[in-house]
Every structure is written in structure tokens, then in C-alpha cells.
Symmetry: C2
């Protein structure tokens, strides 16, 4: 696999925005079973090994897991504040849960778990996300740290395999915008400058 041509632009944006911790936060849109969109912030966890797939994590009890199982297509919108540029990345999502038998993906799921902070890991031990909160039971959130080596069963690695990347630079004069499209037959990325 070769590094996709849009990877350079992402690497540059990450570097130039490195002082902002939230430059690694982006918004993931999926589609609900009723055909309406859903949208939430997720954290970019790097690329999967020697692929162009973006890594995220999720709890298999979260609503997005059901949405993805029904409609795996997604679009992330990634805005970089310091450099005033946006990437819109469309592609197909893959969930890697405890029951995924691909050894490479399972290893990556484990490594991703090990790389998390304690604060990130403990959230997977919390009560069911999105369910009514029992305020009198504050203690349900006070838990021993889970094993830092072995992921909890509800921990999922989430992979986005891009097929289209729309890169907009607001700082240009007028502005610059490029569209990268993957041609599945030629196994190649094509780039085009488009109007902003």
C-alpha cells in the first residue's frame, strides 16, 4: 500500500496545529436507522499500520455502533483552527470488537487500548452511555482502573477507509480547494482543484 496523496496535507495540518490538543478532534457523521443523520466529536488516533485508514475508538454500547452496522458509510469533518483549513473525508467504517478474528486488526485493537490514558480507559467501565443517569448512584462511576494491557469487551477500534477527501484552505486568496478521489479500478488516487 502506498501513502495516499492527501496524507501529506493532513500531516502538515496536524504539525502546524500541534499546540491545540483539540486539533485531533473531528466530527463523525453517520446515518440513523430512520434515515436521519447523526453527528458527534471523535478523537483521531492515527492511521492503521501501513494503510490509509483513520483510527478512532468507540464503546459498543453507543448508538453509533448500531448505525454503523446498518450503514457503514460515513463522513468526517475535520477543521484545523490555526491554519483555517477543513478536510471532509468520506469512506466506509469497520468496527473491530472483541469478536473480530483478524489477527492484525485484533492486535491493533489491543495496542490502541494500551496507548490510551487511564482517563480514557475508565470510561469503558462506566454505566451504559445514554441511559438515564441515577444521580444518587455517583459511586457507579468510581471504579478500579481496568487492565491497561487487555481491552474490556465493549471496547471497539473503529476504522475509516477513505474514498474521497475534500480539502479546503480558507486562508488562500481567494481560497484553495482540492478533491481527492480514489479510483477503485485503477487502485489510484486522483486529484483535482475545484472552486471553493
Amino acid at each position: 500500500m502506498s501513502i495516499a496523496p492527501w496524507r501529506n496535507a493532513i500531516a502538515r495540518a496536524l504539525h502546524r496545529n500541534r499546540s491545540l490538543v483539540y486539533a485531533r478532534y473531528l466530527q463523525l457523521a453517520t446515518v440513523r436507522s430512520n434515515g436521519r443523520p447523526a453527528n458527534r466529536t471523535v478523537v483521531f488516533r492515527g492511521f492503521l499500520e501501513d494503510t490509509n485508514k483513520l483510527k478512532f475508538i468507540t464503546d459498543d454500547r453507543s448508538e453509533k455502533v448500531d448505525q454503523i452496522q446498518q450503514q457503514p458509510w460515513a463522513e468526517v469533518c475535520w477543521y484545523f483552527p490555526s491554519t483555517r483549513e477543513q478536510f471532509r473525508i468520506s469512506g466506509c467504517l469497520t468496527l473491530v470488537g472483541w469478536d473480530n478474528f483478524d489477527p492484525v486488526l485484533q492486535q491493533s485493537r489491543t495496542t490502541t487500548w494500551q496507548e490510551l490514558s487511564d482517563a480514557a480507559r475508565i470510561q469503558f467501565a462506566w454505566p451504559h452511555p445514554g441511559k438515564p443517569r441515577r444521580m444518587e448512584e455517583q459511586k457507579t462511576f468510581i471504579l478500579p482502573q481496568p487492565d491497561p494491557m487487555q481491552p474490556l469487551a465493549n471496547f471497539c477500534l473503529l476504522l475509516l477507509d477513505p474514498v474521497k477527501v475534500d480539502h479546503l484552505e480558507l486562508r488562500g486568496e481567494p481560497q484553495n480547494r482540492w478533491l481527492y478521489c480514489y479510483d477503485d479500478q485503477q487502485k489510484e488516487w486522483f486529484i483535482q482543484a475545484i472552486n471553493p
Copy 2:
């Protein structure tokens, strides 16, 4: 109309993040005609008069206009960096173009145009967004400023009428999350604390 209960939380977040110009930027998810999601950054332009509708602007030549005409349901994801909180707002979109005959909405469209900066207004005079860019024709972007009083025909006001607001505070211990749902029969908002 009464001010929805989640409006206070938004007002507080906007105030506490006021030093960041991009705290007014949020991500709007819609659904494409092929059933896949689309996602892009838009700028919050305030609330419509004495309603709880969020105002945005768009060019009627942009792809989202076709998407909205087919599927008006949307979800915006609004992340506030300084206070580390997120609002996910679901609702129905309304496009207000030059041919909308509601006098209140048309007046609001005109006022929104008048409140834009020159840099924002000129973009509506640019060549068709998303079409291949003719690099030799840089001059197609060098144009006289449009009339600051009278909107160009392709300028649209875009309104989001929320029915569900999911507010997550990452800073709490553990974290705090509230769900606001509008009950269409009782014409009232209901609030519930939910697990983060």
C-alpha cells in the same frame, strides 16, 4: 414562543469561549441522495428573531441544498474548546432563498446578508462552488463587491429548528450529560440527565 431551556447552556458556552472566533463554527451533517452522510463546517449566525431556530447561511449552488430538499433532517455537532463541552442538536432545516414569500423570513434573509462582512458576501459572487477550477482564470475571483443591502439571488438563509439537544460536559467528574427533547403535543421541552 418561550426560550428553550438549552439556550442558557449555549449562551454560557458562547460567552466562555468568546476569545475563540472558531467557537462559532460547528459541523452540519445531512444525508446525500444515495443515503450516505455529508458533513461540513458552518458558522452560527445567531437565533432567528424570537424563536429557537439557529441561523446559518449557504449558497444555493452548494451540494447541501439538494440534500436538504430531499432530506431536511440534520444534526449539528458543536464543540466548544475552552470549556470542553459538546452540543449535538437535531432538527429540521428550512432554506430561505430569494423566492421565499414569507415576509418575516425574507426580511431576516436580507438582514443576515447586510450583517455579513465584505469577505463573506463576495463569496456568493464567485464561480460555481465545487466545479473544476480553471487556474488560468484567477480573475474570475476578482470581482466588484456585491450590493451590501440587497442579497444576491443565490444567497440562502438556512434555519435549523431543534427537537433534540444532547449536551455533554467533558469537564465534570465523571462527566455530565443532559438530553433535552421537545414534546410536540405538549409543546414543551423535557430535560433528563443521562450517562456520559
